[in-house]
């Protein structure tokens, strides 16, 4: 896929973790605008565990809604993660079809909390660890195979109609706890379920590309592969890697945000090139609309540019700005080759004590720190083209001209951003055990409706 397409090497997510990142990609807007954040405490990462009350706001216009309106058939396969309650159901948010789960595949005991349901379209068809088996002892589950079969079936079926489609394929097997199907478990040199899961996902991606070619759809289909955030280094031996980038998931260093991004479109996108276009997953919103010939809504601010010129002609937009938010806190900004950190934070002390570390082996006093550090008075500056590893801060004392110039314009970028910013209403402030997946639609037919406990709305605790 990479050798036949384009590799964007300065491509970022909108958040260092799952829900806000995914919501931003589909809405074309930063979490701080679209509401997928919390302001319960400054600079904390929030997401959509199953006791979350909120989800993506109905006022947000999602990519699949616009594509569908523009004549596309749409399908979500795999993880949704923009809210699991009825108003946030993917079929209410622009997808014609859905096969997958609303939340992370963590295991619950079924009594104090229900296991996560897997849906086919409107209704649940089973739950993880129950009908949809994941064996945590062996690290084996056939779930990714189901997601693959769904995808191949969909491409064949929709490909035959000659009408455009949008397939959003979200396997979650490389998320802890990792799993792979029996055929792939033990296959990787890496030796972990993570490594096996990666091989399995890769195998299915290969089958999808082959199928597109077989159906002669390759010249009419853009395939993009990316990830929702950096590798979760807390998983230690079971983790992925962000090398050469600093730290990982949950942080605003490059390891939390910079992500693989491969674009495949034979005969449209030149083969085998890397692009230095700075981009974010929110740009997929404008890019897809641009390629589909559909207009961007004009009633709101977007954090999205079309990457079409970079993909098809190699034209670079050097004005692109990347904002690195942790929750409601603007921690860093990148424009051009410079990245400026206004705040830095590694892992809170109480988590470090429990062996949770988003930056293992790394000691950078005052930068990779156990408490939030405010650098606004003298921001930390990196040249992430020269120093993508964020190892060597450019100090005002050593390179005053570079520092003053870069920090000067980055501060102006931040100032303008903050002046214009109208924060969305935070959707991730409240939690309630009653909203968990006790009795999802379709549970009656499966005789799998669990008793719903009394409602008890609390302020969610976001520890990091």
């Amino acid at each position: 896929m990479v050798s036949e397409g384009m590799d964007m090497t300065s491509f970022y997510t909108a958040a260092p973790l799952c829900s806000p990142s995914r919501a931003a990609m589909l809405s074309g807007r930063l979490p701080i605008r679209n509401g997928l954040y919390s302001d319960n405490a400054f600079g904390r990462n929030a997401y959509t565990p199953q006791d979350i009350v909120g989800g993506i706001a109905s006022s947000e216009i999602l990519l699949q809604e616009l594509l569908r309106k523009g004549g596309y058939h749409t399908k979500l396969i795999g993880k949704w993660h923009l809210g699991h309650r009825a108003p946030y159901h993917p079929l209410k948010r622009g997808f014609n079809e859905w096969y997958g789960a609303p939340n992370v595949h963590f295991q619950y005991d079924g009594t104090t909390a229900p296991n996560i349901p897997v849906y086919k379209d409107q209704n649940m068809i089973g739950r993880f660890y129950e009908g949809i088996a994941i064996n945590l002892t062996t690290g084996i589950s056939e779930y990714t195979q189901h997601l693959g079969e769904e995808a191949l079936e969909y491409i064949s079926r929709r490909g035959r109609t000659g009408k455009p489609f949008f397939l959003y394929w979200n396997p979650d097997s490389t998320h802890a706890p990792s799993y792979a199907s029996a055929r792939f478990r033990g296959r990787s040199q890496r030796g972990t379920a993570y490594g096996d899961a990666l091989i399995e996902v890769d195998d299915i991606v290969g089958k999808m590309l082959d199928l597109l070619v077989n159906h002669k759809l390759e010249n009419d289909t853009l395939v993009v592969l990316t990830s929702d955030n950096g590798a979760a280094l807390v998983s230690k031996r079971e983790a992925g890697t962000n090398a050469p980038f600093l730290c990982g998931k949950q942080t605003t260093f490059e390891g939390g945000f910079r992500t693989p991004a491969f674009f495949w479109w034979p005969n449209k996108i030149p083969a085998g090139n890397a692009s230095s276009q700075v981009g974010t997953q929110m740009d997929l919103f404008a890019t897809f609309l641009d390629l589909a010939g559909l207009p961007m809504p004009r009633d709101r601010v977007y954090d999205s540019i079309s990457l079409k010129p970079a993909l098809m002609n190699g034209d670079l937009d050097l004005e692109k700005v990347v904002f690195f938010y942790r929750g409601n806190g603007l921690f860093a900004v990148r424009k051009g080759r410079f990245k400026m950190h206004l705040w830095t934070w590694r892992t809170p002390q109480e988590e470090l004590k429990r062996g949770i570390d988003y930056c293992p082996n790394i000691h950078m006093d005052g930068i990779v720190s156990a408490t939030q550090v405010n650098h606004t008075a003298e921001p930390i500056l990196f040249d992430v083209d020269n120093d993508p590893e964020e190892r060597y801060p450019i100090r005002p004392g050593n390179s005053p001209t570079i520092y003053e110039t870069a920090v000067g314009y980055l501060k102006k970028v931040v100032e303008k951003h903050q002046q214009d910013l109208v924060p969305g209403k935070p959707a991730l402030n409240y939690c309630d055990p009653a909203v968990e997946n006790w009795a999802p639609p379709g549970c009656e037919d499966l005789d799998d409706c669990l008793p719903i406990p009394a409602s008890k709305v609390v302020i969610c605790d976001w520890p990091h």
Partner: protein
Amino acid sequence: METFWTLKLFFVFVLGPAICETRPNFLLILADDLGYGDLETNGHPTSAAPSLKKLHSESLVFSNFYSASAVCSPSRMLRQGDFLRFSILDITRAFQLFVMIMPEPCFGQCNNGDVSCPLYSNTTIVEQPTSLPDLTQKYTHKAILEIERFSKSEDPFFMYLAYHETHHPQFAGDFRNASSRGSFGDALMEMDHSIGKIISALKKKNLLNNTLIFFTSDNGPSLMRHERGGSAGLFRCGKDTTWEGGLRVPAFLYYPVHVQPGITHELASTLDVTPTILALANVTSRTDVSHGFDLSPLFLNHSQEVRQSLAMFSTEPKKAFEPYAIRYKHFKSHFYTRGSSLSDDLNFDHACRSSSRQEKHDQALIFDLSVDPSERYDLRSPEARKLRGQMEQLRQEYRANVTWAPSEMAKGQNRHLSPCCSRPATCEPFPDCCDCDEEGSFSSPNDRLPEISVISVGP
């Protein structure tokens, strides 16, 4: 178990006719201080090396390839190092093939009082001081001229291209500011461009299909140079350490028709380069002891585990402590570790700093490099105890079996041995008198060249 642990260390080469009819040409390309993470093919986001990228895609990539030493000269095997009894010189003498050897790098290591860097053509110093900005262009030009000459001969050739790139301080000729990665990226681009031109020349002369190209680096990145020092990627520390970042280097082998492009995770080392080349050239070595293995069964016959283990030595080895580390299959045990100022005294990983002095690990650290290539999580499981014992036994076997050559470095230094343009190094005022008189007035062959400078052997 006994036979299982028998070392294949001291095998006499059995040189079979691996390639019967025509012996391949060899192009050995060695980069300088280029770390595992420095190429775009290994995930660097701002490196650009299109020729190497293409070569990589058409090569067999060695993902577990180690330099024999974490600093340059011992790694390069151009001299007999403390424990490496084999040198490139041996190949060239045994081959009787044409050899072109570029001058050894001396920039970066020059101290006040040293002579300036000479450029040799065979045994003659043709420039001193060498002009660095156009040096790579000269190498490229010379290599292409030689390729044209080779093409007129029936004999196979061995060409060793030892670039100065990407060692600090970098120079990049026409590629200055060409990359977005600064001076390191520029130097890499210049080397890449040179490699591309040389491969094109081979192709143009119809030599490419019978040429084995091997690309690697002499050691990990010189992290003390910060953003100009290179990247070890996902590996720990860098140059001058026995952590993976010091020793694991990019390596790929291109040999069209004979070798399928792809990746091998088999263990291999720069120590294996000489035996492999000799075997493919069907040359019997006059040296019968080597720490290297002929890797050709691995890439010609898909054999596995040609090499099961590798001993890793520190850069100032002392018998009492070596080897520092042992790699066996996908496990690595550290018995001693130390950081180095070359791996940056400000390194965010304290293990890499020189303040991490030599430390003996009574309970050897053990890492499963398949799972944990970054050497973060020492194995503590009960199974690891048995493995640790096996590692210790393997280390003892290395200790018992390695014959220590007298140290070349311990012979000391003498300025009269310095390369000196057209005059003996006893001249005054030293070292300025050693510079060539003027540009263009190349010296005649210097019969007083010190022994260490005679590094090429004519046909």
